[in-house]
């Protein structure tokens, strides 16, 4: 599990964008596209090199007050996102 005060940075090699035709957020990169599910899209929107993991969870809870177990979802997704290099942490 990551440290909750860590700050994820969005990898500028990717572009996050709402796609009407797909009805979801997508990540665009050279010659490719990844569709994000609803939760993943909301999390990635908050990855800006300023918000800590803690802060991202807090903001999401404000946005979705009924979000049960949102903490685990955020942590789980951020691990996957880091593996896929969509985001990175400063050493």
């Amino acid at each position: 599990m990551s440290n909750q005060t860590d700050i994820p940075h969005f990898n500028p090699m990717f572009r996050l964008q709402w796609e009407q035709a797909q009805d979801c957020y997508v990540l665009l990169f050279p010659e490719g596209m990844v569709k994000l599910n609803g939760a993943a899209g909301e999390i990635m929107k908050l990855v800006n090199g300023k918000n800590s993991i803690e802060k991202i969870t807090e903001l999401l809870l404000k946005q979705f007050p009924d979000g049960q177990g949102i903490n685990d979802d955020v942590n789980e997704f951020l691990i996957v996102a880091a593996e896929k290099k969509w985001l990175y942490y400063e050493q």
Binding site: V26, L28, P30, E31, M33
Partner: protein, 378 residues
């Protein structure tokens, strides 16, 4: 739409804008048609903008500017800007010839997202011999450095053939040095000029096995750092065909320089009448045109595809390959070991061990036309 295709047809997610067939290089592996036309019927800026707008409205999201050499179009910046403003992810697929630091900056300003540069080898000698142009390597090397320095994601594309596949280790070293993000180590696909030159280009099985071993070894040493290498083997050595274009007219839409709309960049060779964006909207073309519906679904499939449990995976392979090799575009791709025409592939591999005749460098038609004009003036 064929009645058996119950899957909903999505938008053309990938729009490839082949801005011009004109090119400063003469690569014998070029997949452009060998009959390049006379360049006089290229789409205008306004026509291209209309195509981009219409495709984007349908949900197209990736936009590739390609050719030929797209940098030869003076309106490239304008088209990039239009594409980017519409929300496309914009890709420039270039030889690097015609780039300058200033132009890279200008394109960035216009909203270009990514630049892909092709290389023909890991050193000037081999690169420039294949490209048929002196100092090409030096130019590509400089521009690749500048592309990264200016903050773009960069893909390098090395087209591999008999002539350069043994350099693969050096190719990977060079990619690291240039800080590429993705590197396509792609053996030539045998269409257009490459089909003419196939016997000269197709690497042997031994060369391929060795190259793949070196790639895997290199990847192990990377430990997740540096470029991501994508090794593309020629389908001739496979036993099942490639899922060409992710299925006919399912994902990709190519617009040729003259405005012909094609389900792939080679499809013009097929005995089908393809629509033109000068006459029809992208929407009508994608959803209604006979040529686009022709190989959707599976009702068109012959045996052994029709009863094959892998038909959903490879869609019967490549229509152009079937046509080039058997003369019948409806046949199973001969790459498939179940195809009654598979012996044609075996024969091609054997033939490539002992190529006859000379390798042909791609000829730039415009130069011939200009030479003719000059002669008339004299």
């Amino acid at each position: 739409m064929n009645s058996d295709n119950d899957k909903k047809l999505g938008p053309p997610l990938w729009l490839l804008a082949e801005l011009t067939y004109d090119c400063p290089l003469h690569c014998p592996y070029c997949s452009n048609p060998t009959d390049l036309g006379d360049f006089s019927d290229e789409l205008t800026t306004e026509q291209w903008c209309k195509v981009l707008t219409e495709a984007r409205a349908m949900g197209a999201v990736q936009l590739g500017f390609s050719g030929g050499e797209p940098l030869l179009r003076k309106d490239l910046d304008q088209l990039v800007k239009h594409g980017r403003d519409l929300g496309f992810y914009t890709n420039l697929i270039t030889s690097g010839i015609g780039l300058t630091e200033k132009r890279i900056a200008k394109l960035k300003q216009a909203g270009l997202d990514h630049i892909q540069i092709s290389f023909q080898g890991a050193d000037p000698e081999i690169n420039d011999a294949i490209a048929g142009r002196g100092k090409a390597f030096e130019q590509k090397f400089k521009m690749a450095k500048s592309v990264k320095a200016q903050g773009y994601p960069m893909v390098l594309n090395f087209v591999l053939s008999k002539q350069n596949i043994d350099q693969i280790e050096a190719v990977m070293e060079l990619s690291c040095q240039l800080k590429a993000d993705y590197v396509e180590l792609a053996t030539a696909q045998y269409y257009g000029w490459a089909y003419t030159n196939r016997d000269h280009l197709l690497p042997s099985q031994e060369q391929l096995v060795e190259a793949e071993r070196q790639v895997n070894q290199f990847r192990d040493r990377q430990q997740g750092k540096g470029p991501q290498f994508i090794f593309v083997t020629p389908d001739y050595y496979e036993t099942r065909p490639k899922a060409c274009m992710n299925g006919w007219a399912s994902t990709f839409l190519t617009i040729a320089p003259d405005g012909s709309a094609l389900p792939c960049h080679s499809a013009k060779m097929l005995p089908l009448k393809f629509p033109n964006v000068k006459d029809k909207s992208v929407n009508d073309i994608w959803l209604q045109d006979f040529s686009f519906n022709r190989f959707r679904g599976d009702s068109w499939m012959p045996q052994p595809c029709q009863s094959c449990d892998e038909k959903e995976k490879d869609f019967g392979g490549c229509r152009c390959q079937a046509f080039m090799m058997t003369g019948d575009m409806d046949k199973t791709d001969p790459v498939c070991s179940k195809s009654p025409d598979h012996h044609l592939i075996t024969k091609a591999i054997a033939q490539a061990l002992n190529p006859q005749g000379k390798i042909v460098q791609r000829v730039n038609q415009r130069k011939i036309v200009e030479a003719d004009i000059a002669r008339i003036k004299l």
